[in-house]
């Protein structure tokens, strides 16, 4: 969607236009939810975060500036900030970090579920800075330059974090590679 159109919709939503808000919501909420879910590991937390980001956007105090960034990138940034806040709070309270796995898999897909859990665990064990870059690049297909803009870092730093993260994952998930499976067998 063109940024001018989004700006119009946002303005209308801020004036109470439900259809405009819902149109923005439909355009953005799924990738934002996925990102929040992968960072927090909990659907309920991810939904709270996405809701807060949309409602924050409607407030007059919202920092969104269409001249500086696209709405999608701004919302990703808002989700990221909220998610890390949520995780810090959780660490302070109980230290419980669930492994985000979608339990829709039927039992016949046990192996797949196990692999999903292993992937989630391996990504979770990366440093935060590598985690977010990897999730945005791998799962949200966000261009590296956009990730750099979102995180406020140099493009080179994004590439380096992604490279280090992927290298660590290759080690952590070696058993799940075709060659690793053969070794296991």
């Amino acid at each position: 969607m063109e940024s001018g159109t989004e700006q119009n919709l946002l303005q209308k939503a801020r004036n109470g236009d439900e259809r405009a808000l819902m149109r923005l919501f439909e355009d953005h909420h799924i990738p934002l939810f996925r990102f929040a879910w992968r960072l927090t590991g909990r659907s309920a937390d991810a939904e709270d975060i996405v809701q807060e980001c949309f409602l924050g956007l409607l407030r007059p105090s919202s920092a969104f500036d269409p001249r500086r960034t696209s709405l999608r990138t701004y919302l990703y940034g808002a989700v990221r900030n909220q998610a890390w806040k949520q995780l810090r709070r959780r660490e302070d309270s109980d230290g419980d970090m669930p492994v985000a796995v979608d339990h829709r898999s039927p039992e016949s897909e046990t192996l797949r579920a196990e692999r999903e859990a292993a992937v989630a665990r391996a990504i979770r064990q990366l440093p935060d800075t590598q985690q977010e870059v990897l999730i945005l690049a791998q799962y949200e297909q966000m261009p590296l330059a956009d990730i750099a803009g979102l995180l406020g870092i140099e493009l080179g730093a994004v590439k380096s974090r992604l490279q280090r993260g992927r290298a660590a994952l290759k080690d952590a998930l070696a058993d799940y590679a075709p060659a690793g499976k053969e070794r296991q067998a």
């Binding site: 809701q51 046990t110 994952l169």
Partner: protein, 199 residues
């Protein structure tokens, strides 16, 4: 492992979809449109005006009331009270039509559609204890020790217990009949000090 193989493994980690409640929650967070407020106040103003006109037509009624209560104030007191009460009733009626009373407590969605059916909450603190009287459903969590929740993980049917825990599938063949009434849910608790509870 090469990059292609890593991508294939990473891409097995799929995210679920958000629940329909998220859409509803965002919709309900929308600030009220100024024009909606305007139309509401316009309706109230028009109602007061119309009631005033209607009340004027009831001057003889007001007079009759005065006659019924000889000791009860002047004609204009009765007239004013008459109009005032009608305004109040009309305003209450209007409020019931246009007003949005703040809704407290849980909201119920059935098949993704918001329902007006009652949801009664029992108990205090964390955990779920809801009763849906219209559906005759009692919904609950099963709290374990130290506030850890028992999680639904699978089923038991006859002598076979099947559940999934942290991505692994478990089957326990009890070799004796465990249930008579078909499939029932089983719950799992991960608790390191479980033995101490039973020692």
């Amino acid at each position: 492992m090469n990059d292609k193989e890593l991508d294939a493994i990473l891409n097995t980690w799929e995210a679920p979809n958000p629940s329909p409640a998220l859409r509803e929650a965002v919709r309900e967070g929308l600030p009220h449109a100024p024009q909606r407020h305007g139309s509401r106040w316009l309706a109230v103003a028009a109602a007061i005006f119309v009631t005033g006109i209607l009340s004027m037509g009831f001057i003889p009624t007001g007079h009759a009331q005065l006659a019924d209560h000889p000791g009860g104030g002047s004609f204009f007191d009765g007239f004013a009270q008459n109009i005032s009460e009608r305004h109040l009733r009309f305003a209450l009626w209007l409020h019931s039509l246009f007003g949005e009373a703040p809704q407290q407590g849980p909201r119920l969605y059935i098949d993704n559609v918001k329902s007006k059916a009652a949801v009664e909450k029992f108990g205090e603190g964390t955990g779920v204890h809801y009763y849906l009287p219209a559906q005759n459903i009692y919904v609950l969590t099963l709290p374990g020790p130290n506030g850890q929740a028992l999680k639904p993980a699978g089923t038991v049917n006859g002598s076979l217990v099947v559940f999934t825990w942290q991505g692994k599938s478990y089957h326990i063949d009890a070799r004796e009949q465990l249930t008579d009434d078909g499939e029932q849910p089983v719950y799992v608790l991960s608790y390191a000090d479980f033995r101490k509870l039973h020692s």
